[in-house]
């Protein structure tokens, strides 16, 4: 994790992700904001791949880079002729203050906290877990987290039904 190429890749991906996110919240055109959002999502996927979360990186590209961004771009195009672009509310100074003060507080807490970290080179059974992540994740989802897994399925069903009933044309009530 300390080799030069990985460090360089981390800085590049971090700069890409944060820069794209900043442009998203400042873009005046909603369509441009949606496209920059995809760049930010892909940068986060790269960061996942750097820290031994290859499966999550693939999931991030598929669900965020594929699904969510298509939904967002579709909604932006459907509402294109409405509103007056992507304007700020009157609370923009308050929002800037809230965001920057929370950031300062978080960075202070991160630097001050005493973490119990894993050793720099992982001991052999833990290193094996990180080599074969998807298999171990699958076993976890169906043993330790099986209840959450089933509830996630019910949640997705409820979302499909709810979204359909929200956008349905009311012919008769």
């Amino acid at each position: 994790m300390t080799s030069g190429i990985e460090q360089a890749a981390f800085w590049l991906l971090a700069a890409l992700t944060i820069g794209a996110a900043l442009l998203v919240v400042h873009a005046t055109s909603m369509f441009r904001a949606a496209l920059l959002l995809v760049v930010s999502f892909l940068g986060v996927a790269g960061i996942f791949a750097l820290v031994n979360a290859e499966f999550l990186a693939v999931v991030q590209v598929l669900i965020y880079g594929g699904g969510i961004s298509v939904l967002v771009i579709f909604a932006v195009m459907a509402t294109r002729d409405l509103g007056h672009g992507n304007m700020h509310t009157q609370y923009q100074p308050v929002a800037l203050f809230a965001g920057s003060s929370l950031l300062g507080l978080l960075i202070y807490a991160i630097v001050q906290a005493e973490w119990t970290l894993l050793p720099e080179t992982l001991p052999s059974p833990l290193a094996d877990v990180f080599v074969d992540t998807p298999a171990h994740l699958g076993q976890m989802l169906l043993s330790e987290f099986v209840l959450a897994f089933e509830i996630a399925g019910v949640l997705l069903l409820a979302v499909v039904v709810g979204a359909l009933s929200l956008v349905r044309e009311r012919t008769d009530v």
Partner: protein, 114 residues
């Protein structure tokens, strides 16, 4: 590396917070919530890779204790599922709002009844 990852995550979260509080367009607010979700996921994956799980520190062995290092990653997986559900419902609400009010400004649509 670990603290740098956490700082990237905090920066993403705060950019998202700023966007949620300062934008007028409802889709911009939803996009900013997605940036906040991404920041939290980066933090979860960083914890999973770098922080020693309590079961490992207490000296337990076996496959269940070893794969406890992936708890953060599975939590991030559930967070991604919930985020996808949230976006689908949120955009359905946007479409419903556009149909009934012909408006996308969150400061003008503050009453939920017809």
């Amino acid at each position: 590396m670990f603290e740098r990852l956490l700082i990237v995550s905090a920066v993403l979260f705060c950019i998202g917070l700023y966007g949620v509080l300062s934008r007028r367009h409802i889709i911009a607010v939803l996009i900013s919530v997605e940036i906040m979700f991404n920041g939290v996921n980066v933090a979860l994956v960083a914890f999973s890779r770098f922080v020693e799980p309590a079961v490992v520190r207490l000296g337990q062995t076996g496959s269940v204790a070893e794969r406890a290092v992936l708890t953060g990653q599975s939590l991030a997986l559930f967070a991604i599922v919930v985020a996808a559900a949230e976006v689908a419902l949120g955009l359905a609400l946007v479409i419903a709002m556009v149909r009934r009010r012909d408006n996308v400004d969150v400061t003008e649509v503050s009453v939920m009844r017809q």
